[in-house]
C-alpha cells in the first residue's frame, strides 16, 4: 500500500530535498531556538535516504548535512548539540543491539549492562575511585586517557558479552529474553552495591568527576566535540554493520535467526555464531558507554535500568530490526521524542500552569510518560508493522548474472537446473 505509493514516485526529487535542507538550515540559523527547524534538519536525513539520486550523491548529501550544516548552523547552541549527540549515542547503541536482535535474532533485554560495563570501566579508572582498591596514588587519569579507553571499554564489554553469551547459549527464544533481563538486573544490583566490602563502584552515590576527553591539550568539554566523537563512532559502527551483514558470519547469524536447527545441520557452529553476535553487539555498547560517561562526567546505577534496555529495543524494533537505516531512524525518532518533544511539551504545560490557565498535578508531567509511550509503540508495531518502519531488505542474488559470469563456465550444480524455470 504505502510501498506502492513510494515506488510509483520512485523517490523524492533531488531538488525538493535540497530546498528542504536549505530552507530549514536558514530557518535554524535565523530563528533562535526553533525546535521545528532543528527537527526539519534532522528529518532531512530521511529525505536524503529516499531521494531519487545515485547512492554516492546521497552519501555526500548526508555527510554534508551531518558534518557541515548541523555543526555550522547549530554548533554554538549547546542545547541542539546536546540533543544531537544524545541522538547519536542512542543510534550507536541501537546499531549494536541490531547485531544481536536484528541479525542473529537473539532477544536481549539486558543490553544496557554492556553499556554500563564500558561506562564504569572509564569512570572507575579515570577518577580517583580506582585508588580505593589499587595501591599507590596512580589515579585520577587525565582526559588524554579517554582515547585508549574507547578500546578498553570495547574489550571489557566484549568480555561481558561472552560471559553472558556462554551460559545463555543453551536457552533460546523467550527464555533468552528472560535470562538476559535477569542478567541485566544482576549487573545493575551489583553496581549498586559494590561499595562494600571493597569500594569499587561507589554504590548508589555514583562516580564523579569523570574527566572529559582531551586531545593535544584541547579540553573537549562542550557537546560540540561530543557530537563529532559520536558521529565518528557511528560511522565505524555502520560500516561494521554493513560489512558484517554481508560476511560469512553475518549470513550465519541470519541462518541462526531463521532456523537454528537447519543452520546447525548446514555446518554452522551455533556456539561461535551466537557468541560472536553477543560479543560484537556488546563491544559497540561498551564504546558508547565510555563516551557517555565522559559526556555526563557523572554516572550512577540509575542510568542503567531495564527501562534503558527496553528503550533501545523499542528503537530497533520500531525502526525495523536487521535494517540499518531503519534502526537509525528508530533510534533518532525515539530519542528526539524522549529528550526533546516530551520535554518541550512538559515545559509548555508548565508555562500554562504558571500562568494559571490549567491546573495539573505534578505526576501528570508528560515527560514521565515514557513507559506509556513505549508500551503503545511496542504494541502497535507488533500488531501492524512487525518488520518495523523500514523493513530489512534481503539481498537477492541475480541468477542470470551468476550464470553469465566466468565462474559459470564449469559446473553450475543446482543452478543449472533452474535454467528452464527462470527464463
Amino acid at each position: 500500500m504505502a510501498n506502492i505509493g513510494w515506488k510509483s514516485i520512485k523517490g523524492i526529487p533531488l531538488i525538493f530535498t535540497l530546498i528542504w535542507i536549505a530552507g530549514f538550515a536558514a530557518a535554524l540559523h535565523f530563528m533562535d531556538k526553533s525546535v521545528i527547524a532543528f527537527l526539519g534538519i534532522l528529518f532531512s536525513i530521511i529525505l536524503i535516504y529516499y531521494t531519487n539520486t545515485s547512492k554516492n550523491m546521497r552519501i555526500i548529501l548526508g555527510a554534508a548535512v551531518l558534518l557541515l550544516i548541523i555543526p555550522l548552523v547549530a554548533g554554538d547552541n549547546r542545547y541542539y548539540m546536546e540533543v544531537a549527540s544524545q541522538v547519536g549515542i542512542y543510534v550507536a547503541m541501537a546499531l549494536g543491539l541490531n547485531i544481536v536482535v536484528g541479525f542473529a535474532g537473539l532477544l536481549d533485554l539486558g543490553y544496557v549492562a554492556f553499556f554500563a560495563a564500558g561506562a564504569y570501566a572509564y569512570a572507575i579508572f579515570s577518577t580517583s575511585q580506582a585508588n580505593q582498591f589499587i595501591p599507590g596514588e596512580l589515579f585520577p587519569l587525565s582526559g588524554e586517557a579517554f582515547w585508549p579507553f574507547l578500546i578498553i571499554g570495547l574489550i571489557v564489554a566484549a568480555i561481558f558479552g561472552i560471559l553472558l553469551g556462554l551460559p545463555v547459549l543453551r536457552v533460546k527464544g523467550d527464555y533468552l529474553a528472560i535470562v538476559t533481563l535477569g542478567f541485566g538486573e544482576i549487573i545493575r544490583i551489583i553496581f549498586n552495591n559494590l561499595d562494600k566490602p571493597i569500594n569499587i563502584t561507589n554504590g548508589p552515590q555514583g562516580i564523579t568527576p569523570i574527566p572529559q576527553p582531551e586531545l593535544f591539550g584541547i579540553k573537549m568539554s562542550t557537546p560540540f566535540y561530543f557530537y563529532f566523537i559520536v558521529l565518528i563512532v557511528i560511522i565505524f559502527i555502520v560500516i561494521a554493520n554493513i560489512r558484517f551483514e554481508h560476511s560469512r558470519l553475518g549470513r550465519a547469524w541470519v541462518a541462526v535467526r531463521e532456523d537454528e536447527l537447519a543452520a546447525q545441520s548446514m555446518g554452522i557452529s551455533l556456539l561461535n555464531a551466537k557468541l560472536a553476535a553477543f560479543a560484537t553487539g556488546a563491544s559497540f555498547a561498551g564504546v558508547v558507554g565510555v563516551i557517555f560517561a565522559a559526556k555526563q562526567t557523572f554516572i550512577d546505577p540509575t542510568s542503567f535500568t531495564l527501562m534503558e534496555s527496553i528503550g533501545i529495543l523499542v528503537m530497533v524494533i520500531l525502526g525495523g530490526s536487521g535494517s540499518i537505516p531503519g534502526v537509525i531512524l528508530g533510534a533518532a525518532f525515539v530519542t528526539v521524542l524522549q529528550v526533546q518533544l516530551l520535554k518541550e511539551f512538559s515545559n509548555f504545560l508548565h508555562s500554562l500552569q504558571q500562568s494559571g490557565i490549567i491546573n495539573l498535578p505534578n505526576q501528570l508531567d508528560p515527560s514521565k510518560f515514557q513507559r506509556l509511550i513505549f508500551g503503545i509503540m511496542l504494541i502497535l508495531v507488533a500488531l501492524y508493522r512487525p518488520n518495523g518502519l523500514i523493513p530489512a531488505k534481503r539481498k537477492k542474488n541475480d541468477l542470470d548474472a551468476i550464470k553469465g559470469s566466468k565462474y559459470a563456465e564449469g559446473k553450475l550444480g543446482i543452478l543449472s537446473k533452474l535454467q528452464g524455470k527462470e527464463s
Partner: protein, 315 residues
C-alpha cells in the same frame, strides 16, 4: 541466629505461596500458547490497586466500619478477581490474538508493551484520582496466631490458606471439568482440539480469565500483607513468579506451586542469613541477585525444571 529461623521460614512461606499463585498464571498461559505473558505481573499489580481502591473507597464511605473483616476481604477479592480477569481477556483479545501464528518474538514484544502501558496507566489514574501513586492499603487483619516458636500474622495465614485453596480449586477444575479437559486438549494440540469441536478461542479466553483473576487475587493478598503498593511492584514480582514457574517446570501446575514455595523460602533465608554468614559483605540487597541466579542456573542445567518433562525438538 537460629532463633529467628522459624520466623524467617514463616515469612518465606507467605512470600512463596504468593509467588506460587502468580506462577500458576504464567504456567497456564505458557502451557497452552507456549508464550510468556509478560504482562501477567502487571495484572497482579492492577489487582493490588483494585483491592486497595475498593477498601479505600468503602472506608471513606464508612462502609468498612462494623463490617466483618472476612466479609470485606472476600468482597474485595471477588471484585478484584472479576476486574483483573476481564482485563486479562481484554489484553488477550487486543494484543495477543491477532498475533497468533506470528513469529514467536512478536507476541513477546507486544506483551512487554502491554506491561509498560499498564504501569503508566495505573500511575496516571492514581495521579488524577489521588494525586499520588504510592498507596497505603487499609489493613483488615491485625492479630497474629501463635505457633509456639513463631507467631504467624493472621494476614500471612490467610495468604497461605487462600493460596492453597486456589491451587486445589484450579487443579480440580483442570482435571475434572469439561472445560479443564478442553484446556488440556488445546495445550496438547490446537488444531486437533479444534477438530474435536473444541472452540480454541474460547478455551484460550478462559485460560486468560482464570490465570488473570488468580493473579489479581494475589495482588489483593500482597497489598493486605505488605501494606504499601506502587505501580511498579508487578514487574519484579512477575519476574520472580516466572522464575518459580521455570524452576518447577513451566507448563506444569504442581511444578509452579513447588517452585514458588521453594523460591520464597530461598529468598527469605538468603535475605536473613547472607549478611551474617558473609560477615556483612553481602547483605539482603543481594537477594534479587540470588533469585535471578537461580533462574539462570535452572535454565542452564535443567531447563525442563524440577517436574517438567524434557521436550524433544521436532525436526
Amino acid at each position: 541466629m537460629l532463633s529467628i529461623l522459624p520466623q524467617v521460614l514463616v515469612d518465606g512461606l507467605t512470600l512463596g505461596f504468593m509467588y506460587a499463585v502468580v506462577a500458576l498464571g504464567y504456567t497456564m498461559v505458557y502451557g497452552i500458547l507456549e508464550f510468556i505473558n509478560f504482562a501477567h505481573g502487571e495484572i497482579f499489580m492492577v489487582g493490588a490497586f483494585v483491592g486497595t481502591e475498593v477498601l479505600l473507597i468503602s472506608d471513606s464511605l464508612g462502609a468498612l466500619e462494623g463490617m466483618n473483616p472476612y466479609v470485606a476481604f472476600v468482597l474485595t477479592l471477588v471484585i478484584a478477581m472479576a476486574l483483573t480477569g476481564g482485563l486479562g481477556v481484554l489484553i488477550e483479545r487486543i494484543a495477543y490474538r491477532p498475533l497468533r501464528g506470528a513469529p514467536r518474538l512478536v507476541p513477546l514484544i507486544s506483551a512487554i508493551g502491554v506491561s509498560f502501558l499498564l504501569q503508566d496507566l495505573v500511575r496516571f489514574t492514581e495521579a488524577i484520582a489521588r494525586n499520588e501513586f504510592y498507596l497505603n492499603t487499609p489493613m483488615l487483619f491485625s492479630g497474629s496466631i501463635s505457633l509456639g516458636v513463631a507467631s504467624i500474622p493472621t494476614k500471612g495465614f490467610i495468604v497461605i490458606v487462600l493460596a492453597i485453596i486456589m491451587m486445589i480449586a484450579l487443579t480440580l477444575f483442570i482435571s475434572k471439568t469439561k472445560w479443564g479437559i478442553a484446556m488440556r486438549a488445546v495445550a496438547q494440540d490446537q488444531s486437533t482440539a479444534s477438530l474435536m469441536t473444541i472452540n480454541v478461542d474460547k478455551v484460550i479466553m478462559l485460560t486468560f480469565l482464570i490465570g488473570s483473576s488468580l493473579g489479581g487475587a494475589t495482588g489483593v493478598l500482597f497489598s493486605q500483607n505488605y501494606g504499601t503498593i506502587d505501580p511498579y511492584i508487578g514487574f519484579i514480582l512477575g519476574l520472580k513468579a516466572f522464575t518459580a514457574a521455570v524452576l518447577g517446570g513451566i507448563g506444569n501446575l504442581r511444578g509452579a506451586m513447588v517452585g514458588g514455595v521453594l523460591l520464597g523460602l530461598l529468598e527469605s533465608l538468603s535475605g536473613a542469613y547472607m549478611g551474617p554468614l558473609t560477615g556483612g559483605a553481602f547483605g539482603a540487597e543481594y537477594k534479587d541477585v540470588f533469585a535471578f541466579s537461580i533462574l539462570i542456573l535452572v535454565l542452564l542445567f535443567k531447563p525442563e525444571g524440577l517436574f517438567g518433562e524434557a521436550v524433544k525438538e521436532k525436526v
